[in-house]
């Protein structure tokens, strides 16, 4: 069992969730309520990671933030190491591929709030900030949480983009999914089996949580 890889995966999942919490809330809410030309295009772009092979996302990340690019050089000059093949690069990749997982459930949850409820809140004297904190988030929290759980579970299982952008550097970018691949390549099926079983159990547990949450969302607004 590669505990280093395992804890790196957990850390990557938690950091991704932390970054995507505000993104999911604000982008999800914006897409739920805003009406603007090109909205469909924005939604399609945010959903792309769902259908693209992870290697394609990884490829574009490499060519846009790699060591030879302006962004990559700026990063290296500022922080003293490359963005790609580092934990930060892994976080960036993970955030991008998880955008639809965090945003879409939040968006659906905000959309499920009847417009009159929000109007009633405004007419009751609640400022837009209070409407968000006291009405919208309490009514949409299951959707927001569902997105985050989904993001966490998906991060644990992500393989292609992590390999492309992170390489397989122990303690830095070698996540448990890659460690399993590594062990299989080295004919160490015992270690691979333990890690695979652990990942399976964790994924099942998180998905179970998601289904429970989604049934509650349905009940509340049904």
């Amino acid at each position: 069992m590669d505990w280093v890889a395992f804890s790196l995966s957990i850390k990557l999942g938690l950091v991704t969730v932390a970054v995507l919490l505000p993104v999911g809330v604000f982008v999800g809410r914006w897409l739920a309520y805003a009406r603007f030309p090109g909205k469909g295009f924005v939604e399609a772009a945010l959903a792309l990671p769902l259908v693209l092979p992870p290697t394609v996302v990884g490829y574009y990340l490499l060519v846009s933030v790699g060591g030879a690019t302006p962004i990559g050089q700026f990063w290296a000059a500022t922080f003293g190491h490359n963005l790609v093949f580092s934990f930060e690069g892994l976080v960036l990749a993970s955030v991008i591929v998880n955008l639809p997982f965090a945003i879409q459930p939040a968006q659906r949850a905000f959309e499920a709030i009847a417009p009159e409820i929000r109007e009633a809140a405004a007419v009751s004297g609640l400022s837009p900030r209070s409407v968000l904190m006291r009405i919208e988030i309490p009514l949409a929290w299951q959707g927001i949480l569902m997105g985050l759980v989904l993001t966490f579970a998906h991060t644990l299982g992500e393989f292609g983009v992590v390999l492309m952008v992170g390489g397989s550097i122990s303690g830095e970018t070698k996540t448990v999914a890659i460690a399993i691949y590594d062990r299989v390549q080295a004919f160490d099926t015992a270690s691979a089996g333990i890690m695979a079983a652990t990942l399976l159990a964790m994924s099942l547990a998180t998905l179970g949580l998601i289904y429970r949450l989604s049934s509650q969302v349905g009940r509340r607004h049904g």
Binding site: E116, A122, V123
Partner: protein
């Protein structure tokens, strides 16, 4: 205008055509009545700040909430307004008490729940503080919505079809409560409804709307019995609308020629002899008797007719008769439910109808629809 507790002016052509001005004094209950799409709800939403018309002014007690010419448009949470939504729009995750307390942001925190409790008591929900909206009946939800709307200490109270989602018995009780409320809170109250009886029960003024315009404003009784135009008469569902010509004015009386029938009415000052007019009579102003038992032959405006249709309603009888004569006009009226049974009337019975002169209402004929007035 500025002296009115509430003054509203709206003009736009699209997406919802609006061209109207209305005002409402403190303590008045103004019912806004009209068919779907007449702009009733849009007026309420504009006052609350949820809708912004192309051109409009809303002033409350002299303070301007909306003035498109001066670029004033206060957001809803800065307008002291209470709005009861058609489906109440209670916050589903909060108890009844918390729903009301949520609108008490202007009070210090410790006082909110005490005041929310008082308001729930006012709407007779003192023992249901901890219930959530899903655990309340329609009538109870409506009361929570009213309590929440009053919580802000509003300068205007707006109710959007507040009785449409409750059963008939509850509705009758809520009518009385709304009247009590208007005495307890002397602010302008606007009620949107499409039910004329409801308007007459809860409001002391009524505004008849059609396609974004006001056709008539007055007491509900006046608007319903004396519509200002044929269009208004049709909207208030006055069924008996006909055309005639004024043939004589004699002292306190005016005489009409209605396709050869002579009709006597109180003097119609604004219409000269020879004028083509429209006239209407409410079904309650038509007397009907069996021809063979008819005794009141001294009454004016008596015509022979045949019963065409009888419909038993819950408390009354809707009768349609066809008058003798080439034009065979149809006349609708309502009678007490027991009347048909007592007199043995049925379809085909020969009857005599008498149109009460005071019930006849004369209107100018309009450009539209003259031919099909009858």
């Amino acid at each position: 205008m500025a002296d009115d507790a509430l003054a509203v002016t709206l003009r736009q052509t699209a997406p919802i055509p609006l061209d109207l001005s209305l005002s409402c004094a403190a303590g008045d209950v103004l019912a806004m009545v009209g068919p779907s799409g007449s702009g009733k709800t849009t007026i309420l939403r504009t006052i609350a700040g949820l809708y912004r018309p192309a051109v409009g002014q809303v002033s409350v007690g002299g303070a301007s909430w909306l003035d498109t010419s001066r670029r004033i448009d206060l957001p809803p949470y800065r307008r002291r307004v209470g709005l009861v939504f058609q489906n109440y729009a209670l916050f589903p995750h909060m108890t009844a008490l918390a729903n009301v307390a949520a609108a008490l942001g202007h009070l210090p925190r410790p006082e909110r729940s005490r005041r929310a409790g008082e308001l729930l008591e006012l709407v007779h929900l003192a023992d249901l503080h901890t219930r959530r909206p899903a655990e309340l009946s329609g009538g109870q939800q409506q009361r929570v919505a009213v309590a929440r709307a009053l919580a802000r200490d509003p300068d205007v109270l707006l109710l959007d079809e507040p009785f449409s989602a409750v059963d008939r018995v509850t509705r009758q009780r809520l009518y009385g409560e709304l009247r009590d409320l208007s005495r307890a809170f002397p602010i302008p109250i606007l009620v949107v409804t499409h039910d004329f009886d409801e308007a007459a029960r809860v409001a002391n003024r009524m505004c008849l709307l059609d396609r974004g315009r006001i056709l008539q404003t007055g007491t509900p009784r006046d608007v319903l019995a004396r519509p200002a135009s044929v269009q208004a008469a049709r909207l208030v569902d006055l069924k008996n609308i006909f055309s005639a010509r004024i043939v004589a004015q004699d002292g306190p009386r005016t005489w009409l020629d209605w396709n050869g029938r002579r009709i006597e009415t109180p003097r119609a000052e604004s219409h000269p002899v020879g004028a083509d007019i429209a006239w209407a009579i409410a079904g309650t102003q038509v007397l009907l008797s069996r021809t063979d038992l008819d005794q009141a032959d001294s009454q004016p405006n008596r015509f022979a007719a045949t019963i065409r249709d009888l419909v038993h309603l819950s408390e009354s009888l809707a009768v349609t008769v066809v008058l003798d004569g080439q034009d065979a006009p149809l006349l609708s009226m309502t009678l007490p439910a027991h009347y048909a049974r007592r007199t043995g009337l049925g379809p085909g019975s020969a009857v005599t109808v008498a149109l009460m002169p005071e019930g006849i209402h004369i209107m100018a004929r309009e450009g539209e629809g003259q031919a099909d007035l009858a």
